[in-house]
Amino acid sequence: MRKPIYIFSSGTLERQQNTLVFKDGDGKKRYMPVETIADIHVFGELDFNKRLLEFLTQNEITLHFFNHYGYYIGSFYPREYYNSGYLILKQAEYYLDILKRMDLAKKFVYGAINNMNKVLEYYIRRGAEELSTTLEELSHISSAVETQDSPEALMAIEGNAREIYYSAFDIITDSEDFSFAKRTRRPPQNRLNALISFGNSLLYVTVLSEIYRTHLDPRIGFLHSTNFRRFSLNLDVAEVFKPIFVDRLIFSLINKNQLKAKDFSTGVEGVFLSESGRQTFIEEWENKLKTTIDYPPLKRKVSYRSLIRLDLYKIEKHLLGDKPYEPYASRW
């Protein structure tokens, strides 16, 4: 199994024969055998050259960049190594045909709301009965999905659903340090918002890295409009997984006191995780992705990370007219 690499310090990343070497400011070197790396996440300042990018391309490694505050900037997405012209044509066809596009876009929204429900139901079972009203409101919204006829309208519904769902966060976390108030994005205005933004960024790049290992083109999304400059399919697929991957992780980090107020900084750029906070988050994030769960269709256990890949395959099968896409539904 290839592993993701996270680089927090600043320095130089270069190729030395068949190995990657990271030299930090003090001249300390870290060697990383290239065949063990899945993708690289860069949080510090990084110097590199074209030779490095060529090396990463040869070895099919994506490179993701985050800014000083931990927010996603962009990726180096090497030339695809799986390439099916037929599938790309199908993907474009499903994008251009509004009925086909809406069909898929709705599935992402249903998938997202369904998994939000699963999160709420879990906390209701554990005594937070007041969340039942949230659940009802969500199902109300969910019933409006079917009648939407444009991706924009669908995105608005998605936004409403998420707003209602986020209103449950204060009940779930019950922590003064992490009160939610409302969702604020750029910049996040409080700690919980900072956590959501950070977690979502990690999910976006994880899905992007998984898309790289399929035949899909990340530039053609269905719910999120393609604007030909940005990746958007990963945003679509991430919607399905946010509640079970990101939100659950945040609740556990807060409720187990793994993150505290001191792990955040506040500045003109809003509130963001400090480096130590980011490291804690990423450590638990990686643990989560590695965790395996029973997966009945395959009659074996699979990791959380592979759940993403399996959904991407399901989308491919949908596009090939093989089997309609059913987004991953958490069982608890």
Binding site: Y82, S84, R213, P297, L310, K314, L320, G321, D322
Partner: protein, 183 residues
């Protein structure tokens, strides 16, 4: 019109016959193994690269018969064969005899292909290093019929816009497409 590729290091032979088969040995092999796999592969929905099994097969291929003088030839940029230097036999090495039927047809296809190009009387040989076993493959008239039928079927199987529906068989478990088909 695009120029045909130059022969590489003398091991690629180009034929300029009118008749062209458009299938690779792998397609003929997959035709026997699983029609769905054939369809997916033929539409370039490939998944083999990440499979360790394939890497293992390639490694075995390279290390099985170090003293054997063989030459890899790519013909019409389409089929890749190993030729034994001494006997001129066409060799195919497989790491498992489980897929023996498929390998047989693959070699028969090579022989048929070459015969149509004017190379008559060639013989194939299958080798199974693990089982220390080998087997001659001879293109009889009957076998030729089998190959022709297979080629026709392949054309029909890969023609539809969607893959054939998934059906469980014993070879699904080790198949590189298992997660794709069953996940």
């Amino acid at each position: 019109m695009e120029q045909q590729k130059e022969p590489q290091q003398g091991n690629e032979i180009e034929f300029y016959n009118e008749e062209q088969f458009l299938y690779t040995g792998t397609q003929v092999y997959y035709y026997v193994i699983c029609h769905r796999k054939l369809w997916l592969y033929s539409h370039r929905v490939e998944l083999e690269k990440s499979s360790d099994k394939v890497a293992l097969g390639a490694l075995l291929h390279e290390t099985s018969y170090p003293r054997l003088k063989k030459r890899e030839m790519l013909i019409d940029s389409l089929i890749k064969i190993d030729v034994l230097e001494e006997s001129g036999k066409i060799l195919e090495v497989k790491y498992s005899s489980k897929m023996i039927e498929a390998s047989r047809l693959q070699v028969l296809y090579y022989l048929y292909y070459l015969k149509r190009k004017g190379f008559d009387g060639l013989v194939g040989e299958l080798r199974f290093p693990r089982q220390k076993r080998k087997e001659d493959v001879i293109l009889t008239e009957e076998k030729e019929g089998e190959v022709k039928a297979a080629l026709q079927n392949i054309a029909q199987l890969i023609e539809p816009p969607s893959p054939p529906i998934v059906e469980w068989s014993g070879i699904c478990r080790p198949c590189a497409y298992a997660e794709f088909c069953w996940g």
